[in-house]
């Protein structure tokens, strides 16, 4: 591996969160983004080719060294690490509505799911999966929710574009009311995230 690849590997090893290409490029003043990407690719190939127990995963807008799934059971059995607890159906449905409709208010989430959402929203917020991204102009100026970076980490996604595509979800993504403003906001938000 090149010295740059070694440096990046050390940095990725030390970090407990995904590091972006931009962040990694600050390690070496002489390296540009393309160099960093190339070095990252070298690390990935190295891990794969040499059949390392870890791999270089791209997610939540950055890169992170992760153990390979095949070792999960053994690691967990030895209690070196534990799997993140599974989300409930209610939590997943709420996350799904927020991911596609963001920024979205509680009333709309409840309308789509047909149940009150207060408790779920609070626990998702506590887990850092969603965050308040603004306030609606509607009466009472209700809070609007959007997904937080942790959401991408949870699903192992690079960005929100990794969600099943809009065309495949004809109904869920069709605004059924004249909410042109809200839809524009949602589009802008998605772009800002990616």
């Amino acid at each position: 591996m090149t010295p740059l690849a070694q440096l990046l590997e050390a940095a990725l090893f030390s970090a407990a969160r995904p590091l972006t290409v931009e962040e990694l490029s600050t390690l070496e003043p002489d390296a540009n983004l393309a160099d960093v990407r190339m070095a990252l690719e070298q690390i990935r190939e190295h891990y794969d080719f040499e059949q390392h127990g870890v791999e270089l995963a791209e997610m939540a807008g950055g890169f992170q060294i992760l153990t390979r799934p095949i070792h999960a059971a053994a690691i967990e059995r030895a209690q070196f690490s534990v799997r993140a607890p599974k989300l409930t159906a209610a939590a997943l449905e709420t996350l799904a509505v927020i991911a596609y409709r963001q920024p979205v208010g509680r009333a709309e989430i409840e309308e789509i799911r047909g149940v009150s959402a207060g408790g779920v929203l609070r626990s998702l917020q506590e887990r850092g999966l969603i965050e308040v991204v603004g306030r609606s102009e509607a009466l009472g100026r209700p809070l609007l929710y959007g997904t937080a970076p942790m959401f991408l980490d949870l699903l192992g996604m690079r960005d929100l574009a990794d969600l099943p595509r809009a065309e495949e979800l004809t109904i869920a993504l069709q605004p059924h009311r004249a909410e042109q403003e809200g839809e524009d906001d949602a589009a802008a938000y998605v772009e800002a995230e990616s």
């Binding site: 060294i65 153990t67 690490s81 209610a90 997943l92 149940v115 009150s116 099943p164 109904i171 869920a172």
Partner: protein, 248 residues
């Protein structure tokens, strides 16, 4: 007709049919379940039958407290009534009252699919551990506050309202007990011709007794029942029977 009635009777059979409340994430989920059970098209829901089944199911589930389910139940019953209204078949203006419910069900079904997809993605991701991975703490610190001035003031209002208004005590002094002091002095006068005013105080005198006694003494002196003398400046007051009364 017999085929379509069969499941209803199966539901009605009761004891064998157990629906786990936890298995449903809401009334829409329960509706989808009922439709799937009978392999019915969402787009053409037999409202009357589904409404009955829904009511039956939530009755069995003991969900009478769950407002979300009751809300859906009332919608279904209303739809059932609307479907019963006669209409001319060639009436183009007729809008299917089920349209809104169908749209919601389809939308919800889509959300369910995404939720399942997300659940699988999360499970795959959970199979991989990151360097320095720590189990998520049970409770993360609360998210940063986002509020404007109005909300802050409203919050302050709520807190202030919670403070009980201070109870103002009107302090009413114990009324002076001049009568008993008078009685005590008169009793003393009967026994002794002369005594110090400190003797006139009752046992363990408080400020009230002291003042009562003083007022009683002055009152009796005014009435001429006794005589107050002070042998020397600042010496204790001497109380004596009034000579006129004494002779009487």
């Amino acid at each position: 007709m017999t085929a379509s009635e069969a499941p209803t009777t199966a539901l009605g059979a009761g004891p064998g049919f157990v629906v786990q409340l936890d298995a449903f994430s809401g009334p829409l989920d329960l509706l989808l379940h009922l439709l799937r059970e009978e392999q019915l098209e969402i787009a053409d829901i037999p409202i009357a039958r589904i409404a009955d089944q829904f009511l039956h199911a939530i009755h069995d589930l003991g969900l009478n407290q769950a407002a979300d389910y009751l809300d859906m139940a009332s919608r279904l019953v209303r739809l059932k009534a609307q479907m019963l209204l006669p209409r001319r078949s060639e009436d183009d203006g007729w809008e299917d009252p089920r349209a809104e419910l169908v749209r919601r069900l389809l939308e919800y079904q889509q959300i369910r699919e995404i939720a399942v997809w997300m659940g699988r993605a999360a499970e795959r991701r959970a199979e991989q551990f990151a360097r320095g991975y720590l189990p998520p703490p049970p409770a993360l610190p609360p998210p940063p506050l986002t509020l404007d001035l109005l909300e802050l003031l409203q919050a302050v209002e709520r807190v202030v309202v919670a403070i009980p208004t201070p109870v103002l005590h009107r302090v009413i002094a114990r009324p002076l007990d001049v009568e008993s002091a008078t009685r005590r002095i008169e009793a003393l006068l009967d026994q002794r011709a002369e005594f110090g005013w400190l003797d006139a105080l009752g046992p363990r005198p408080g400020i009230v007794d002291l003042l009562s006694t003083l007022l009683a003494l002055l009152e009796l002196a005014k009435r001429g029942a006794l005589r107050l003398t002070q042998p020397a400046p600042f010496s204790p007051m001497v109380i004596a029977r009034d000579p006129a009364r004494a002779t009487a």
